[in-house]
Symmetry: C2
Subunit: 349 residues, 2 copies
């Protein structure tokens, strides 16, 4: 059977071990020995210097890839986020980066854009690059992520989101408790008819916050079935605006507990377009305390999740999973807190 | 000379080609042929299925790494950003991702945290993973990035920042013109004493915006030497607050043209702490029109750079550099525009 020609003939010329060997006047195996830190002592200093100079002159890339094949370690961690433009993720990723850098690991971030196929592709790509571990902030229903990571035996930790049945450690926020804090705050202000602008179904944060909302309403002596609930179809400003418009058509509430800060920004837009003031006319609570919501108009009352703690603890669990593969699964549930600003007020009498 | 034992004995067990061959009952070279899309046709379907099943059962990682060695292509692009928490970068990165994905490339993002050593380490790491190209949004004076990319022969494009003497294509914003738009707007409102809160020296955007400020002041018939200028030592809210405090000590201005939106947020904080209202008391212009500055209080008058265009055009140049290495350097200068909101007003009489 005839062999196909190389698929890609346009690639830039890159030096091979053989090129370096020719330039340095040594055998290719000597080049390999000289360029591999573990075997460098097997060649003389003069040869090591000659090979290193030839390699640099030719632009030969160092042995990370070959070293990866040899040690199967890249000292690189991948982090998958579902939406790079959502400001809630950078502080979490940054905390993880800092912790991983202390342990000598570099961090590469990939954006899945909430697309399960793209998530699977990025995991395959990262596995192919032999990342030593993955942190998934992108897990959602329909995701093949857990299955892929298990099959490829990549140490993996889930951040911010849970996946039922996943055997990986996870660091998440106590979303049910967070939503209870929001509802209790609104009830204490005097609200009795509270709507819930929920997140997209299939994402654990949305499911837990919605169920936390209903429990908290019931605990306050109110009937959850009388409270209007509308789910947004994504965690975006635009989806929040649409869901808020539909809630306004239903009516019958003086406050809305929103499942996420981006959705709350969309709720602000819909309320403003309807001629309603956030705070005096309709109280709004967010969730996450993402950067900049303290500076918007009006500043958003929200539930602060522990971004830095989440990233740092997840990094610690992943490092443990890498160095001690037998470590059993650990779930860390972080406690959020209520941050009161100016988007909530007593209902008008 | 005795060989050292393997350096890392704690790694999780990962299957090799030999393990797969043993499990499938075939020769290792058959495994390689069966698992490589370019040579799969050289084995029977039955063998291909048997090998694929054995590989999956054993958790063998697919041939990306070996394929990288073979074709020296990973179809992966690295993007280096100086600060992941600065919201100006995600829209640029996202536009690049979309364009690169259309061409079949995955994108990995690394954060340098404005640290030249960390930037160099990330480039080495990405080069070691055989990324096909790099986009540097992190270039600054003292950076070894250009040198490293040239030595490793990695196709590279600069985004948002220039580096004098770099031979790589760049997509930047016309920062001098942008600052002229800000100064002209303030002069048209009636301001005659305008301060400049400059960015950190050593970053091209800061240098160009500062020089653009002085030129525009002169063009308006004012003496640039009479305008107070204070440089922040980083593009952060905190650095902006400190620099604004020092400008307030100098006094003698009714408006401040700020080099970047994060710095402008810090200026808001310092002005508020001094009991001054942004807009009525002191006019403030930002630069970038990063996400959310339209929602802060008061909404920021700023210079909008073309985020999506910047990311998309840079991706296009990088793809050209990868597929046509002989393509000569191209510089694209994008035109910004003024967006007037409520942080600027006529000075009090």
């Amino acid at each position: 059977m005839p062999r196909r020609p190389p698929a890609l003939s346009v690639e830039p010329p890159r030096a091979t071990i053989a090129d370096v060997a020719r330039a340095a006047g040594v055998h290719p195996s000597t080049v390999s020995r000289a360029l591999n830190p573990d075997t460098r002592a097997m060649v003389t200093d003069a040869v090591a210097v000659r090979v290193a100079e030839a390699a640099e002159q030719l632009g030969w890339r160092p042995s990370m890839l070959a070293a990866g094949l040899r040690t199967r370690r890249s000292r690189t961690i991948g982090i998958l986020v579902p939406d790079l433009v959502n400001p809630v993720f950078p502080p979490i990723v940054h905390a993880a980066e800092v912790r991983l850098a202390e342990a000598g690991y570099a961090t590469l971030v990939a954006n899945t854009d909430n697309d399960p196929d793209r998530e699977a592709m990025m995991i395959e790509r990262m596995a192919g690059h032999l990342v030593d571990g993955l942190m998934l902030a992108s897990a959602a229903k329909g995701s093949q992520a857990v299955d892929l990571c298990r099959r490829r035996r990549i140490p993996t930790v889930l951040i911010n989101r849970r996946l039922p049945g996943a055997e990986f450690s996870a660091v998440t926020n106590d979303d049910r408790h967070g939503m209870a804090l929001a509802v209790e705050h609104l009830v204490a202000l005097g609200h009795r008819r509270i709507a819930h602008l929920a997140g997209p179904s299939g994402i654990s944060t949305a499911v837990d916050r919605r169920s936390g909302f209903r429990s908290a309403v019931r605990a306050a002596g109110l009937d959850p079935d009388l409270m209007p609930i509308m789910a947004a179809d994504a965690y975006t400003i635009e989806a929040g605006r649409c869901a808020m418009e539909r809630l306004l058509e239903l009516g019958g509430f003086t406050a809305v507990a929103v499942a996420n800060d981006l959705l709350a920004l969309g709720a602000y837009d819909a309320l403003g377009a309807a001629g309603l003031r956030v705070g005096p006319d309709v109280s709004v609570t967010g969730f996450n305390d993402m950067p900049f919501v303290d500076r918007i108009s009006p500043p958003l009352t929200t539930i602060r999740i522990q971004h830095a703690e989440m990233g740092g603890r997840a990094a610690g669990l992943l490092l443990a999973a890498i160095t001690e593969p037998a470590t059993s699964r650990t779930d860390i549930l972080l406690q959020p807190k209520l941050v009161v600003r100016h988007s909530t007020a007593a209902p008008e009498a």
